[in-house]
């Protein structure tokens, strides 16, 4: 874990309160994000096995701080490729420079990655070699003009030889399926992630065949809200590179098609310290596309010592410490349904587990947006060249849980 200070100088000992709270919690997930200490308040986030803690002196909306800390973590991720303890330790100087630019006296300054990258160049192997030879630095000598413009997300003077605009429509199915296989709750959440590599400054507008599907949408700041309100068209001057254009929820009136079903038989016998485990996953017919990347994870009850299973397809692992069973299934072929079956060994003498564990399923379906959302067209204004445009659809399992 790591501590960070902004605002005035605060003794490091304040972190002790945090460590105390961390010990008290059953697991890292349950450390309260907001902790009150005699003189300060600690607001923390937990990401990639690192706690980011901020020390607060006065009233502030907690989400303000949480959101900012996540941006910081995003930036590290962006700069170092991963947001890990070693990455931060290896790049302490850049971390300091970044925080310096992102915050002024506790108020966020530059949080757009485009501006930051103009200020401080991300480290690459090549550059670090060049730097050590030439003695130049990572700090850009150009001053970030983006900070001054009213479209801070876009750099000026962008040039590409291949002008491309890609949109990934990614939909996730959140669902809770009960014991009998009926759907307790299901919902489709989607995002459109874009990768825009276009020269100059252009105006894009993206329209959908069926925009009414989108029930609730949140936008990247570049999108003109009024156009959406009046015409249901996404009109925007895009940031350069990768970014999330919108996230949306599909209106709840639509029934969600659940692309897979799970047959399960899990039982623990009284007094024999063993149990049976038998799970089959199958695709529902109506899809026409292959379900792939199927993975099942199960948090087995504490009493489970070991599992002795055979899988007809893929491979499984069971971690006796965390009690997590992972079954990597892969692609489902309707002709031969994948099955995992075998014996569960329980701690002898322990009472039989009260409840069967729930199964978390992951899967992926390419070239399908489960909600039926379709991009109609993308138009570009303001520049003369013809860009290459591409739209990709993908459906994934979100928080997809089967109760047994």
């Amino acid at each position: 874990s790591s501590g960070k200070y902004f605002l005035s100088v605060v003794s490091q000992s304040v972190c002790d309160y945090f460590f105390e709270a961390q010990e008290k919690a059953i697991d890292v997930e349950n450390v309260p994000p907001v902790i009150s200490t005699p003189h300060h308040y600690l607001i923390s986030i937990y990401r990639d096995k690192i706690f980011f803690v901020s020390v607060i002196q006065t009233e502030v909306p907690p989400l303000f701080v949480i959101e900012f800390l996540h941006r910081v973590a995003d930036t590290f991720q962006d700069y170092f490729g991963e947001c890990s303890e070693t990455a931060i330790k290896d790049n302490v100087v850049i971390v300091y420079e970044l925080l310096e630019e992102m915050l002024d006296n506790g108020f966020p300054l530059a949080t757009e990655s485009n501006i930051l990258k103009e200020l401080i160049k991300p480290p690459t192997i090549l550059r670090s070699v060049v730097n050590s030879i030439t003695g130049s630095s990572n700090v850009g000598d150009t001053l970030p003009t983006g900070q001054l413009s009213n479209i801070p997300w876009r750099r000026a003077g962008v040039k590409y030889t291949n002008n491309e605009a890609y949109f990934d429509v990614i939909e996730e199915i959140d669902a809770i399926i009960d014991k009998s296989g009926s759907t307790v709750f299901a919902e489709i959440q989607g995002v459109i992630d874009s990768c825009i590599k276009l020269s100059g400054m252009q105006d894009l507008s993206l329209s959908f065949m069926n925009p009414r599907l989108l029930d609730d949408v949140s936008f990247h700041p570049c999108i003109r809200f009024k156009r959406w309100e009046s015409e249901r068209v996404l009109s925007f001057i895009p940031p350069d590179g990768n970014f999330r254009l919108i996230s949306y929820r599909v209106s709840s009136q639509n029934l969600v098609a659940i692309p897979v079903y799970v047959k399960h038989m899990i039982s623990f016998k009284e007094n024999t310290s063993s149990g049976r485990f038998d799970v089959t996953i199958g695709p529902k017919q109506n899809m026409g596309k292959t379900v792939e990347g199927v993975v099942m994870t199960v948090h087995m009850p504490k009493a489970v010592l070991n599992m002795n299973l055979t899988a007809t397809q893929g491979s499984y692992t069971f971690d006796p410490v965390t009690k997590v069973l992972t079954w990597d299934v892969g692609k489902i072929t309707p002709q031969k349904l994948p099955n995992l079956k075998g014996i569960v060994n329980l701690q002898s003498g322990a009472p039989k587990p009260e409840e069967n564990p729930s199964l978390n399923i992951q899967f992926k379906i390419q070239q399908l947006a489960i909600s039926g959302l379709k991009v109609n067209r993308l138009d570009m204004y303001g520049e003369k060249y013809k860009p290459f445009k591409g739209v990709k659809y993908i459906t994934k399992a979100g928080k997809f849980q089967v109760r047994t």
Partner: protein, 1035 residues
Amino acid sequence: MIAKGKNASELFPAVVKNVASKNIEIKKLVYVYLMRYAEEQQDLALLSISTFQRALKDPNQLIRASALRVLSSIRVPIIVPIMMLAIKEASSDLSPYVRKNAAHAIQKLYSLDPEQKEMLIEVIEKLLKDRSTLVAGSVVMAFEEVCPERIDLIHKNYRKLCNLLVDVEEWGQVVIIHMLTRYARTQFVSPWKVDEVVDEYSENNFYDSDEEQKEKDQKLKTTYTMDPDHRMLLRNTKPLLQSRNAAVVMAVAQLYWHLAPRSEAGIVSKSLVRLLRSNREVQYIVLQNIATMSIQRKGMFEPYLKSFYVRSTDPTMIKTLKLEILTNLANEANISTLLREFQTYVKSQDKQFAAATIQAIGRCATNITEVTDTCLNGLVCLLSNRDEIVVAESVVVIKKLLQTQPAHHGEIIKHMAKLLDNITVPVARASILWLIGEYCERVPKIAPDVLRKTAKSFTSEDDLVKLQILNLGAKLYLTNSKQTKLLTQYVLNLGKYDQSYDIRDRTRFIRQLIVPNEKSGALSKYAKKIFLAQKPAPLLESPFKDRDHFQLGTLSHTLNIRATGYLELSEWPEVAPDPSVRNVEVAESAKEWTGILGKPKKEKPTEKFYSESEEEEDDSASSSSSGSESDSESEKEDKEEGSTDESSGSSSPSEESTDSESDSKESAAKKTCRAVNESDSEDIKKKAAGISKKRSTSSSSDTEYTSSEESSSDSKSESDSKSDSESGKSRNATSNKVNKKEEKPVQDRKTPKKQDIFLLDLDDFCPVTTPVAVPTAAVLSPSLAADLEGLSLSSSSVIDVPMQVSVPTKTHELLHRMSGKGLAAHYHFSRQPSIFGDRMVPVQVTVTNTTDQKIENIHIGEKKLPPGMRMHEFNPIECLEPGGSITATMGIDFCDSTQTASFQLCTKDDHFNVNIQPPVGELLFPVTMSEKDFKKEQGMLTGMNETSATIAVAPQNSTSPVIIERVVKAANLGVVPSGQDNVHRFAAKTVHSGSLVLVTVELKESSTAQLIINTEKTVIGSVLLRELKPVLSQG
């Protein structure tokens, strides 16, 4: 080293020396170091100050900004005056970015030296007036930090802040929204009291006639109408619910919660539910807030019930919060679904959560009487659960439930008595004992037996249980002393020698009460009443019940403790404070406006060809502003015209100006008022109207003095009217305004000249009015149209460049004298036709020498223009005397974009980087067209080419002269004569490509208006829309 938390302060001198280093990276790191240790090593830190002072004067705004930033972060009290000075200077810096940093510095200085508060408030006041979106968030932050109590500073800026909000960066949005929430609570009356009334109305609307409605209104006396400013805040924040930033969404949600009418608050729930997809921390805070909301207004979140279903993978704290909300949302309709869901939760491996679920079931049972029995049975089943925590929790909840239902639950009590042998959790044991004691009369056989058992184990019990054993004993002694007298005394004896104070005290107390002896006769009589009194059932309440006294979304709300620096949200005022305090700006800007008027008039006389129309616009603009203000104002105006006879002479008032001068409201009548005055004939009136339509602007048929020319062209009636003119005049004077009289002689003097001009006009412009080629271009699909930009240019000659309309625009600073070493430069958009070429936007640059030496060879040096942009330089100025100033005209082809043109302004010895960024309104030139043509063109520019918005129109802006004045001031648009009072049309073309830009302002009811812009240049359209919006809504 700092990063590792080691103390590096002993290295201070060595490090500080590097502050002057050329290497930016080292410089930055030194800054970091300085900020951290300066407070401890004050003397040495002073060494570095001069470096920053120098940097504060740097021509580059970013260097100025970062110097200010570091300087203000050095916490050394000695430099407070230096900081103050730097802040003051920076607050009037040209660059909004520097001003933003000044706002940040305010907070830092304030925390260093609170004595400076008064001075800082002055700076804050100044910065609050700033119109830049960059500054807004930071200065409001400073305001909140330094002087949150000075709510009066906000009044004038309130509307501006509301309008800017959408464009402010996200962090600033959060701060501003929170501040505005507090502000609104002090300034507007509550929209809640009348909610029910309003609802009633909407229902009744169908049945009641308007008359009845009105009566009702009166009956209710205080009908609530929301202050337009209140409404504006709600309307302007709503789009932010779509923000990707959770903090912004939450801020808007709390604003709606605290400010919106109850019927509208519901719109936030969808967005809040969306945030639940976010990471754990965001979920935690949002769920807490939803929990508070859902207690008061279940309806808001009921449709999203299932979104709060718990997953086994959620962290416990999230699970419990979700459960809390589910319980709050439970009602008769959904309880059965919920209970089924709860059953799953009870079996959860997470026992803490299972226990919480049992609590939740208990709460549902008390809140919804229909299911009490079901719940109770369910809970009793849980008593046989394997897990002790679950059982214990069930016991506690059952106890509470039985208390609320003191009916005949003897069976359950018996069952629980049996459980006593197995349960070890103290709370549960205590609860069972209490139950048996309380209802011992219902279980007369079991109770003494329980006492017997517990008496045996008394010494090994928990304190909590011991107390209940004592209680049980006492109660049994009173009701069934025959069987239990000895037992109770035994227990009391045990208690007497217990280790715990509490137990000993309680024992003594009970003994005195129940065992009759000589000393305490009085109370023991009532012992039975005391012990066996009916006890009120405990309320099973949500822990979020009373959290709503904290503003939602705040740290205090999350912790349920008042955090340092928490600003109380005031109650709604009974009577709204004067809403006009927020108006101030209007008068100011209007005055400012009339003030500027004189200047350009004087500048233009040379260009006679255009002068007429220019003056026309001037007049219409000026007179409309004055018209809206007061008579005295307009009189002044007239005098001004008299003095500059050139200009006023040509002031053949256009229709618009006529409108405003005549001050009357029926514009239709007015349009032809001159004609009426002269001829009094209906026919001529019509004709005149006809002419005015055909010839659009030239229709300024000021027949009084241009009659000769008029007659030469087409109207016969003019001759009659001429003879009539004197009498018409007098009528004019009486009917219209006194100022007409003053105008008259001047106008007459000018007549000969005017004739020429008008003849010219006619020749030039008559045939042009019907567009021919443009439609073809507009029919094409947008993308094609873009390709055909060149084509559409040719068509531009058809609609044509009519009268240049000049509205005095404000001057912008190009080069500050400080950064220009004494050379100052300003520029403004002259709105004249460019002499450099069709596509050039003319810019007038005024350079001033403020030094005491000559500046030689002022010229434009290196240019950094975005691709496609071109610039026509002005001729080098050979020599500029000290104190002298010269105006030069240059042309820039901005390619119809608002990109900045950067170039160097050079003197003989120096060069300065400057840039010009055009407002979108200056990328246009006005065109003339008739209403019919306008509609036709508009019809072809629909769909993608149309952007529109509903805007609020400040009441003082709703008259047509004001609208025209304001719109034309904001953008270089030509006025299209309109036959409707409530619709105003403007037309222009873009300078570079000549694409049509059509603007329509349609006034709607209740001080809103529809603003529509049609143009194939969608970027320009949307930017223009954004810029025009505040023009009418702001005061």
